[in-house]
């Protein structure tokens, strides 16, 4: 907890705080740069709607988990911190799961086990461990929001391409049919709906991102 800062004179959206929110979007993206949270990410990107719901759930859980652990950071004994974090995250995920079951039951069925797997999503544990245990609540909330949103963003990009190219729809609206592409011989690529293509789409995102930001290229 040595890197704790005193933000007494700092504004709520000072430059430093804004960086917490914006950095995860590109240079420090949790999915494509830090390689966290891929586990539960890819299987639910066949369609846009479950991906958006999943992204929102993860934003809620990371933000709340960061806030709670940050508030408790001076009370948690160091030796049992992992189990305390797991309990906080699991309790939040149970809440999210119950809310999803109550209000969007069909999406909750599509997500099946992957809502539960938010518990072991490395982004959440990683942010708690690396950030919120050593920072003030407001900063932790911003950090959680930034990372959750970056994760959700990747999910939505992947799901956008998979649903558009694989199914010809977006949020179940038949976009390709409206554009009249079927009449000129366009065919949906059913391959995009199968699991392996999610990996290839993510690889393409990584390729584009690293080509634009050469500092991210890995050395051998």
């Amino acid at each position: 907890m040595s890197n704790e800062q005193k933000p007494a004179q700092e504004g709520l959206f000072s430059k430093k705080n804004r960086r917490l929110l914006i950095d995860p979007m590109n240079a420090n993206n949790p999915v494509t740069v830090q390689v966290l949270g891929i586990c539960s990410a890819l299987a639910i990107t066949v369609k846009l709607k479950p991906a958006i719901v999943m992204g929102l759930s993860v934003i809620v859980v990371t933000t709340m988990a960061n806030l709670i652990t940050s508030l408790m950071r001076n009370m948690i004994p160091n030796r049992i911190r992992i189990i305390v974090q797991l309990v906080v995250v699991a309790a939040l995920v149970i809440l999210v799961d119950q809310v999803l079951k109550a209000f969007v039951y069909d999406v909750s069925k599509q997500l099946s086990v992957f809502v539960g797997l938010i518990i072991t999503n490395c982004i959440i544990m990683g942010r708690i461990e690396a950030f919120s245990l050593g920072n003030t609540p407001w900063k932790s909330v911003l950090d959680g929001l930034g990372n959750g949103a970056a994760y959700g963003g990747i999910l939505i990009i992947v799901a956008f391409f998979r649903e558009l190219l694989g199914n010809g729809t977006l949020l179940d609206y038949p976009v390709v049919e409206w554009m009249g592409l079927y009449d000129v011989g366009y065919k949906n690529n059913g391959m995009m709906l199968l699991p392996p293509m999610a990996l290839i789409v993510v690889a393409m995102i990584i390729w584009v991102q690293r080509a634009k930001t050469p500092s991210l290229i890995e050395k051998d």
Binding site: V35, V113, L194, P196, I200, Q209, I217
Partner: protein
Amino acid sequence: MQDLLNIFVKSIFIDNMIFAYFLGMCSYLAVSKTVKTAMGLGLAVTFVLTITLPVNYLLETKVLKQGALAWLDPSFADLDLSFLSFIMFIAVIAAMVQLVEMVVEKFAPALYSALGIFLPLIAVNCSILGGSLFMQERAYANIGQATVFGFGSGIGWLLAIVAIAAIRERLKYSHVPAPLRGLGITFIITGLMGMAFMSFMGIKL
């Protein structure tokens, strides 16, 4: 016997944890640089999956499921605790991993030092919790089926990580476009392996 064999083959090839569900992807990408460490982690995951699944199965059928507590007292017959399953499963997994770690350290020090840091890290490996959640969702008929499912899923995961580690060792000698080096090309290769594994889908079991 036949159904056990079916579940075993199905969980290795058709419902492979990595290629069909992307579970345990974080450690799959992080620890697949050499075959030796990949083998160690794969064995540890198989081991933990095989022992946590029967325990969680008992927990699910004797405590959490609707009416499961009726063996304690008939008045509990319509009690449904299944909303607690996430927190119970993860607690069991964390406790079992701790227990396995202590037992292995005491009785097999050589294996313990070979597995090293991987053993405690398994508690947060998605494939372990995923195994328990799939077990709950698919409602296996008895504890034998659940155990075989856990063992098969572990073997499937082991197969995937050893294969990608072997490919990545060879990959050092090839010319990959700079932005794809490391992470990107690993994703693409995993995707191609997934497509190859999809050919097992045609098998009728």
